[in-house]
């Protein structure tokens, strides 16, 4: 556990000693703030529904910025040799990095709560729906982080890691749209099931379905396991 903690601390320190954390959090806040105001003033309805949807899309673009350096950065900085020769198990490295990235996600998410202040002051929002939306958003973020981290371990260049991660995440987000082209019942079901957006939609509407929770957790687990196996195989 100490090894995981050491990696975690290093990752968080690195995020905050470089511009990445500040950049990601401020861009996300600016974007979310804009969408929030736009949605409230355009519709006049005091909910977070639309804003959550926009946050989801914005997240897909920002996740690669967080994850691209996780392993690729170790190659560019020539530190991978140290990392892989320390008395650490691959899962400790993967978990430590993942938790470090998740901390940034948590920070981004927490900071958007500032939008709730006017919502509660001037409106009458449903607290349960908002909570469920936030849970969904965090789960979505965790799954995206795991996918991004895995791709970062595959390539040695940060930019390429990001360039691979973006279309993959967008693919998972929009795969639900393929449903309308399919007449086959099984394919329709599959595309629906794989869609990040459709599961997220449930949370936004206030539904915490165990199927959706499991889905995001399984995606994260698969990506992290692949990440660990890849590190083991590389040795």
């Amino acid at each position: 556990m100490n090894g995981t903690l050491a990696i975690y601390r290093k990752e968080v320190q690195t995020y905050f000693r470089s511009p990445i954390a500040y950049f990601v959090v401020s861009v996300f806040l600016l974007g979310t703030g804009y969408f929030f105001l736009y949605n409230i003033f355009m519709t006049g309805i005091g909910t977070m529904d639309e804003t959550f949807q926009n946050m989801g899309t914005l997240l897909l673009i920002l996740i690669p910025v967080i994850t691209m350096r996780l392993f690729s950065g170790e190659h560019t900085g020539r530190t991978i040799e140290l990392l892989m020769t320390l008395p650490l198990k691959p899962w400790q490295i993967v978990l430590g990095k993942y938790l470090g990235a998740a901390t940034i996600l948590l920070l981004m998410t927490g900071a958007t709560a500032i939008n709730l202040i006017p919502l509660y002051l001037y409106g009458n929002p449903e607290t349960k729906t908002i909570l469920s939306g936030y849970i969904g958003f965090l789960l979505l973020g965790l799954a995206c982080l795991a996918v991004g981290q895995f791709f970062s371990s595959l390539v040695q260049n940060q930019i390429i890691a990001a360039l691979i991660t973006v279309p993959v995440l967008l693919g998972f987000w929009f795969v639900g749209h393929l449903q309308s082209f399919q007449s086959d019942y099984i394919l329709r079901g599959l595309f629906g099931y794989l869609s990040f957006a459709q599961h997220f939609g449930d949370f936004v509407r206030g539904l915490i379905r165990s199927e959706a929770v499991t889905f995001y957790l399984v995606v994260s687990a698969i990506a992290l396991t692949l990440n660990v196996s890849y590190l083991q195989w590389r040795r």
């Binding site: 090894g3 000693r17 020539r78 040799e81 020769t85 008395p87 198990k89």
Partner: protein, 317 residues
């Protein structure tokens, strides 16, 4: 402490390391010599556990690198060719991370940091971010990192590269002190370094271990390969013929610049017998202007080049 048992490394069909075996014992500093691309770094990486050997066994502090990687890694300090530094961290933050990752208990970390910071003379830069450091300091932070956690085995890939002469001296002292009761394997390009601090030298070329012995006995082994170097103003052809005619001269190479009466540098392979120089001097001085004549000591560089078999013309022997 370090034992390689017929270790080979293949990438696809290309064999990088051929059947290398050697050991480094406790209290021993072994120098690892070889030209670029000889397989030094690959061998170091296999001992460090960064890559695995295709066949053969690597044992570090009694642990098999293939099966007990983590136990072995705990006993190991490794400085790769490029010091592995996290540029945005400050020196103490970086060293603390490495100490934690190496499993140094939290209450011992401050003392351990203190020890390596003092050993590597980093007191003045402890709070500075690593990207602001000069090359010499970066190298020393890399060395400090390797010393953390009191490893029993130290692997140093070119530890003095980028240091100025004073710092090299200090780094050598650190390594020498450490080598007194640990096992150290260090690769280097700087040959005098090997004679200064290593008890034994391993020479590697094209992935094969060519020799491993003390610098002194390697020197002795090549005593026959004595040579005499001279500078003469003479025509190249005639000079070579004259040199070859002298009793005791086995071979002669004239590095001529141009034809005619110009300054030539010549090298003669001579017998180890006495008086050869005198005969060469008499023969040459009677016909031409002899500017300089000296017997080449069998330096480690000569021995190295002889083993590598790469004494191409024009290269200083």
């Amino acid at each position: 402490m370090i034992a390689l048992e017929s270790v080979s490394k293949r990438y696809g069909s290309r064999t990088i390391i051929h059947d290398v075996s050697f050991t480094v014992g406790k209290g021993e500093i072994v120098g690892f010599l070889g030209p670029n691309g000889a397989g030094k770094t690959t061998t170091m990486r296999m001992i460090a556990g960064y890559t695995t050997a295709t066949s053969g066994r690597v044992i570090v502090a009694g642990f098999d690198m293939a099966t007990q990687n983590e136990d072995a890694a705990r006993k190991l300090g490794y400085l790769p060719e490029q010091p592995p530094l996290y540029d945005v961290l400050d020196v103490s933050g970086y060293l603390r991370f490495v100490a934690q990752a190496k499993g140094v208990p939290s209450r011992e970390i401050p003392r351990d940091l203190d020890r390596v910071i003092r050993a590597c003379r980093l007191e003045s830069v402890v709070r500075r971010e690593i990207y602001k450091l000069s090359k010499g300091y970066r190298q020393r932070v890399g060395l400090a990192q390797a010393l953390l956690g009191k490893p029993e085995v130290l692997l140093l890939d070119e530890p003095t590269a980028g240091l100025d002469p004073g710092q090299i001296q200090e780094a050598r002292e650190v390594i020498r002190a450490f080598g007194e009761n640990h096992a150290v394997l260090l690769s280097t390009h700087i040959l005098p370094e090997v004679t200064l601090i290593c008890q034994r030298v391993a020479i590697i070329n094209q992935g094969r271990l060519l020799a491993i012995d003390s610098p002194a006995s390697l020197q002795k082994a090549s005593e026959q390969a004595n040579s005499v170097r001279l500078e003469v103003t003479a025509p190249a052809e005639a000079l070579r013929d004259a040199l070859l005619a002298i009793d005791g001269v086995r071979a002669a190479i004239v590095h001529s610049m141009a034809g005619g009466h110009t300054l030539q540098t010549a090298e003669c392979q001579v017998d180890a017998r006495e008086g050869v120089e005198a005969r060469i001097a008499r023969a040459v001085a009677s016909r031409w202007d002899l500017h300089r004549l000296e017997r080449q000591q069998p330096t480690l560089e000569n021995i190295f080049l002889r083993y590598i078999g790469d004494t191409t013309e024009g290269k200083p022997a």
